[in-house]
C-alpha cells in the first residue's frame, strides 16, 4: 500500500505503528507530547496513545537518556527524542559510557534497546547548535548502531526497525528533509536497516551519500549525465555498521569513489570509507577516494552556511579531480 507523505509524517506513522505494536515502547523527550515536538514529528501521538506513552520529560538530555537506560533494564523499549543535534552533548556521557557499554559490561547478559532520535544537519538557516552533524562522534563508539534515512519510505521503516533492535540505535533524522515528500509503501518488506542501497546506477564514479545529501548526490548525478558522465549513487543508510560490501561492489565497477557528508571532512565517516575501500579495491581504483564534507570549523553562521554545505558543484568538482588521474 503506497502513500505519499513527508518524511516527518512517515516517521510519525512509523512511531504510531511501533507504539501500537508493542505496549513496552514509549516515547520520551522535550515538548513531544501535546505540542508534537518542535518539528511536529510526534504530532497527535500523545492524544492517541496518552501522555504516559508519549512522555514530556523534564528538560535534561542526560536525564532522558539515563532514565531510558533504566527503563530498558526493566524491560521497556524507550524511544528518546533529542530536540536538536547540538543538544545531544549533555547526554553524551550517558550514551557513550553507559548505553553503549552495558551489554558488554554485563558480558552479554543485559541488553539496553534504547532508540535515540536526533534531528541533524544544516541548511535551515538556524542559529548556533541547530545545524550540526555529530554522527562521527557516535560512530567511533562501539556498542552503538547509527542509521539515517534519506527519504520517507526508509524513514517509516527504519524507525520501526530501530525500535525492534536489541541494541541501542541512534537515528539521525535529516531535519532539512522533514518536509520532503515521497512514496511510502507500508506493506513492502523492509530492507535491512544496516545496509546501503544503490539509488542510481552509473559507471564512471561512485558517490556515497547519506541523510540530507542523498538528494544532492542524485542531483549531481543528473547534472553529470548532461555532460555525458555516469555517476552511481549509494545511499549509505547505516553509518554504524557501514555496508562496505555494497560500496566495494560499486567501486569495483566504477573505479572512482566520492564520499560526501555535511559533517567536517577531517575525522569523518568519509575518511573511514575511503580507507576501507582503498584496502579492498586498490587495484580497481583509477583515482584516490575523494571526500566532500564540511570544513574544519564549527558550523558557520546561517548567512554563509551555503559555502559550508557540500552541494552539486562541490561533488562535481571532486568528480573532475578524480577523472583527472
Amino acid at each position: 500500500m503506497s502513500t505519499t507523505m513527508t518524511m516527518a509524517k512517515a516517521i510519525n506513522a512509523g512511531l504510531r505503528a511501533t507504539l501500537a505494536g508493542d505496549d513496552k515502547t514509549l516515547l520520551m523527550g522535550e515538548d513531544i507530547g501535546p505540542l508534537g515536538g518542535v518539528y511536529r514529528v510526534t504530532e497527535g501521538l500523545a492524544r492517541e496513545f496518552g501522555t504516559d506513552r508519549v512522555v514530556d520529560t523534564p528538560l535534561g538530555e542526560s536525564g532522558i537518556v539515563g532514565t531510558a537506560i533504566g527503563l530498558a533494564l526493566r524491560g521497556f523499549r524507550p524511544i528518546c527524542e533529542i530536540q536538536f543535534d547540538g543538544f545531544v552533548f549533555p547526554g553524551f556521557n550517558q550514551i557513550t559510557t553507559q548505553l553503549a557499554k552495558i551489554h558488554t559490561r554485563s558480558d552479554g547478559m543485559l541488553s539496553v534497546p534504547v532508540v535515540i532520535r536526533i534531528p541533524y544537519g544544516g541548511g535551515i538557516g538556524s542559529i548556533e547548535h541547530h545545524s550540526e552533524s555529530p554522527e562521527a562522534l557516535f560512530a567511533h563508539t562501539a556498542g552503538l548502531r547509527i542509521i539515517t534515512p534519506s527519504n520517507p519510505h526508509d524513514a517509516y521503516w527504519m524507525i520501526q526497525q530501530a525500535a525492534a533492535c536489541a541494541d541501542p540505535v541512534i537515528v539521525f533524522e535529516p531535519k532539512r528533509r522533514y518536509w520532503l515528500k515521497g512514496e511510502v509503501d507500508t506493506a513492502a518488506p523492509a530492507r535491512d536497516p544496516f545496509s546501503a542501497q544503490v539509488v542510481r546506477e552509473g559507471t564512471d564514479a561512485t558517490v556515497v551519500a547519506y541523510g540530507p545529501l542523498v538528494p544532492v548526490a542524485l542531483a549531481a548525478a543528473n547534472a553529470a549525465a548532461q555532460d555525458g558522465h555516469s555517476l552511481e549513487v549509494i545511499d549509505l543508510r547505516s553509518i554504524s555498521p557501514i555496508d562496505f560490501d555494497t560500496i566495494a561492489a560499486s567501486v569495483e565497477k566504477t573505479g572512482r569513489l566520492i564520499v560526501t557528508h555535511e559533517a567536517p571532512t577531517f575525522g569523518g565517516i568519509g575518511g573511514e570509507i575511503a580507507a576501507r575501500i582503498s584496502e579492498r579495491c586498490f587495484y580497481a581504483l583509477e583515482a584516490p577516494a575523494m571526500r566532500v564534507g564540511g570544513f574544519h570549523m564549527p558550523y558557520p553562521v546561517a548567512r554563509v552556511e551555503e559555502h559550508y554545505l557540500p552541494d552539486i558543484d562541490r561533488i562535481l568538482e571532486a568528480f573532475d579531480r578524480a577523472l583527472a588521474y
Binding site: 533504566g70 526493566r74 558480558d107
Partner: protein
C-alpha cells in the same frame, strides 16, 4: 530528638519533621540527625524511628553485627589480595559497614539496587557471592554477575550515572503497577556519595524522580572525602537539605548507626513503595580507609580526624549494645570471627581460581545482534592468532602479541 529531616512536602513528613535543624557541613552529632544508637552503644529515643528498631528481634540485631563484621573481614582480605598483586585495585569499604548493612537489610527481595563501586556490604545483603566482585578488580569482567539474580546492578564507575538508571528503573516499576502488569510494589535504591552529589546526573535524577513520582530512594553515603577533597568543597549545607528543593523528604542519619540507617531506609522504602515518591537519605559516615588502594590519605587529612572517627566505629557500638543488653556472648563473637575468616578464605581461593574468558569473547559481547564489522574483526583476529600456533615458543612477540 533533633533531626535535619528536611521538610515537609507531604502530611506524613510534616508529622515526622518535629524539628528541622540545619546542620553544618561535615558536622555529626545527635542534634542534627537521626540516631538510635550513640557512639557509646546506648539506645537513643526517637518517637518516629525508634519503633523500627524496637521491632527488631535479637537474632536480627546479631545478624546486623555479623554482616558488618564479615564485610570488614572480607574488605581486609581484598585489600591484602591487592597488596599481593592478585587484584589490580581495591576500593575499601571499612567504616561504612553500618550505612551499607543497615540500608541493604531494609530491602525486600523485589527491590532493586543500583550501586556505585564501593557497595560491598550491600552486595552481601543481596546474596551476591562476594568473590564475584573480584572479577571487576582482577580484570576478568567489567561486570561480573547477573544483576537479575539478586536485583543488585553492576558496579558503575562513572560517578552518578547509575542514579539516572535507578530512576528510570523505578519509573518502569511504577508503569507496571499503573498498568496492572505488576502487583507487588517495589522500590529502587540509588547509592551515591558526597563527591558524586556534585555531578549533574544526581540533579537530573532527582528532578526526574520527583517529576514522575518514581519509587526510588536516593541513598547518599557522605563519607566526608571524595578522594582527597573534603565534603566542604562539595556543599555548604548537609546534602539532605537539598531534598526540599526537589520536593521530596530528606533525612540525615548517623551512617555509623546500623539501627538508625535500617530504620530510616525502611521508612523511605515504605514511602516509595506506597506510591508517595522518592526520598533522599544522607548517611553521615566516614571512609576510614583510602579511597582505593592507589590512594594515600596521609597526604590530605590529619590522622587525628581518622582517630576521632574510629571512636565512632559502627561495629564497636553495636557490639557494646549487644553485650550490655545481654543479646550476644563471647561465643557469638568468636563465631562471627570464624565466619569472617571462612568468607575470607573462600573469596581468596575463588579469586585465585578466577580465569577470564579469552579475548575472542570480547567480540561476542559488543552487540546483542550480529554486526558485520565486529564479525570481520573477530575473524581476522582468530586467523592472526592461529598464525602463531606453529611459531617458536621462545619468540618474544608471541607472548606480547597474542595471549
Amino acid at each position: 530528638m533533633g533531626v535535619a529531616r528536611q521538610p515537609a512536602t507531604g502530611p506524613d513528613i510534616v508529622d515526622l519533621a518535629d524539628t528541622a535543624g540545619v546542620a553544618r557541613p561535615g558536622s555529626i552529632g545527635p542534634t542534627d540527625m537521626v540516631q538510635l544508637l550513640d557512639a557509646q552503644g546506648r539506645r537513643v529515643s526517637d518517637d518516629a524511628f525508634g519503633p523500627y528498631a524496637d521491632a527488631l528481634d535479637p537474632q536480627t540485631l546479631r545478624g546486623f553485627y555479623k554482616d558488618m563484621a564479615v564485610v570488614r573481614r572480607f574488605d581486609a582480605e581484598a585489600t591484602a589480595l591487592q597488596r599481593q598483586g592478585e587484584l589490580a585495585l581495591w576500593v575499601p569499604v571499612i567504616g561504612q559497614e553500618a550505612a551499607q548493612i543497615g540500608s541493604g537489610r531494609a530491602l525486600a527481595a523485589a527491590d532493586y539496587v543500583f550501586p556505585t563501586y564501593r557497595e560491598h556490604g550491600v552486595a552481601l545483603t543481596r546474596g551476591l557471592d562476594l568473590a564475584d566482585l573480584f572479577k571487576l578488580f582482577r580484570g576478568i569482567s567489567n561486570g561480573g554477575w547477573d544483576p537479575r539474580e539478586t536485583n543488585f546492578h553492576l558496579y558503575t564507575l562513572v560517578l552518578a550515572a547509575q542514579t539516572l538508571h535507578a530512576v528510570g528503573y523505578a519509573m518502569g516499576i511504577k508503569r507496571e503497577l499503573d498498568a496492572g502488569l505488576a502487583t507487588e510494589p517495589a522500590a529502587v535504591v540509588a547509592y551515591f556519595g558526597d563527591g558524586s552529589s556534585s555531578e549533574g546526573d544526581v540533579h537530573e535524577s532527582m528532578v526526574f524522580a520527583t517529576s514522575f513520582n518514581a519509587p526510588v530512594v536516593f541513598f547518599c553515603q557522605n563519607n566526608e572525602w571524595a578522594i582527597s577533597v573534603p565534603f566542604s568543597v562539595q556543599s555548604k549545607v548537609p546534602l539532605a537539605n537539598r531534598a526540599a528543593g526537589y520536593g521530596m523528604p530528606g533525612i540525615r542519619v548517623d551512617g555509623n548507626d546500623v539501627l538508625a540507617v535500617h530504620a530510616v531506609t525502611q521508612w523511605a522504602l515504605e514511602h516509595a513503595r506506597a506510591g508517595k515518591g522518592p526520598v533522599l537519605i544522607e548517611a553521615a559516615t566516614y571512609r576510614l580507609g583510602a579511597h582505593t588502594t592507589a590512594d594515600d590519605p596521609t597526604k590530605y587529612r590529619p590522622s587525628a580526624e581518622e582517630a576521632a572517627w574510629r571512636a565512632r566505629d559502627p561495629l564497636l557500638r553495636l557490639e557494646t549494645y549487644l553485650r550490655t543488653e545481654g543479646l550476644a556472648d563471647d561465643a557469638f563473637f568468636r563465631q562471627v570471627k570464624d565466619d569472617g575468616d571462612a568468607l575470607a578464605a573462600h573469596v581468596r581461593s575463588a579469586a585465585l581460581a578466577l580465569t577470564g574468558e579469552g579475548f575472542e569473547r570480547r567480540f561476542a559481547t559488543v552487540y546483542a545482534e550480529a554486526h558485520p564489522l565486529v564479525a570481520e574483526e573477530a575473524a581476522w583476529f582468530a586467523q592472526y592468532a592461529a598464525s602463531f600456533e606453529d611459531a617458536d615458543p621462545s619468540d618474544s612477540t608471541r607472548e606480547g602479541g597474542v595471549a
